[in-house]
Symmetry: C2
Subunit: 158 residues, 2 copies
């Protein structure tokens, strides 16, 4: 995977969550994901597709981080991962990839995103049909932690 | 969802599995999916994205159908859902959507597909971030059953 494709997602994650939630967001060092299970308690996954690449982005939150983020988004306190929180994870996934998509487009890579899926539960096995590595970037806010996970494969045009 | 978009996936499913596995495949009547959980024991999910629509296709097999299909694909008997079977579900998902993509393109809808995800287990909760209905089509082969599930949303170009 071209690591320069990672930057637009890192920047979009910081920018979207800082703006939406008035939360300071810091990114850690990217690493290769070593297993195939969901990192956090709620995970949004979105497919990325263009004529030349195929891939996905996932964002996976621990309970503390997502409850804080959604409470700030809706200016209302959320204390459990309910349907509204799950749906907000889908919306956050959409907004981050939409933001990254604009930057990728400026880099000359025009791609589209599919409908986000949201999985609930830590350690849910999610196999990806790719031999490409999955890069994981850890993030931290005062309340908790989350990660984004990106994989891209260049494909032949069919 | 435009139901005419369903036909290319039904035809591709029948054509790909009949050809790959020398199995007679019959399709039942499409219905609206009523819950958010995986129908079968192994499920492949792939994102579909174009400038004008966003969506996903899932194909979900009971154990009997997928073990028969993969045994015929590899001309070797599989008796349990192992990594090879899970990976074959990803490949089947890719080939079916690739086939449907060509027909959609002939209908004037140029779209791309993301990397397939494969989920193992019946009844795994998969939330989709869409208000569009999910259409489910049941299929039968002599050995067992499977379904495909499709959802599409028209989107504004951003």
């Amino acid at each position: 995977m071209k690591t320069e494709l990672l930057d637009p997602f890192i920047k979009a994650t910081i920018s979207v969550l800082t703006t939406m939630c008035q939360t300071e967001v810091t990114a850690g060092t990217p690493r290769t994901k070593e297993d195939l299970t969901t990192w956090g308690n709620v995970t949004g996954i979105i497919g990325i597709a263009s004529d030349t690449i195929t891939g996905s982005m996932a964002i996976s939150f621990d309970n503390a981080s997502i409850l804080t983020i959604v409470s700030k988004m809706f200016m209302e306190e959320f204390t459990e991962v309910n349907n509204e929180v799950i749906d907000a994870v889908g919306e956050i996934t959409n907004i981050i990839t939409g933001t990254a998509k604009r930057e990728l487009s400026e880099m000359g890579l025009k791609c589209n995103m599919s409908t986000p899926l949201m999985l609930v539960g830590k350690g849910v096995l999610v196999n990806q049909h790719t031999k490409a590595p999955i890069l994981q970037v850890p993030f931290e806010i005062a309340a908790g932690k989350f990660v984004i996970e990106i994989t891209f494969t260049e494909q032949n045009i069919s």
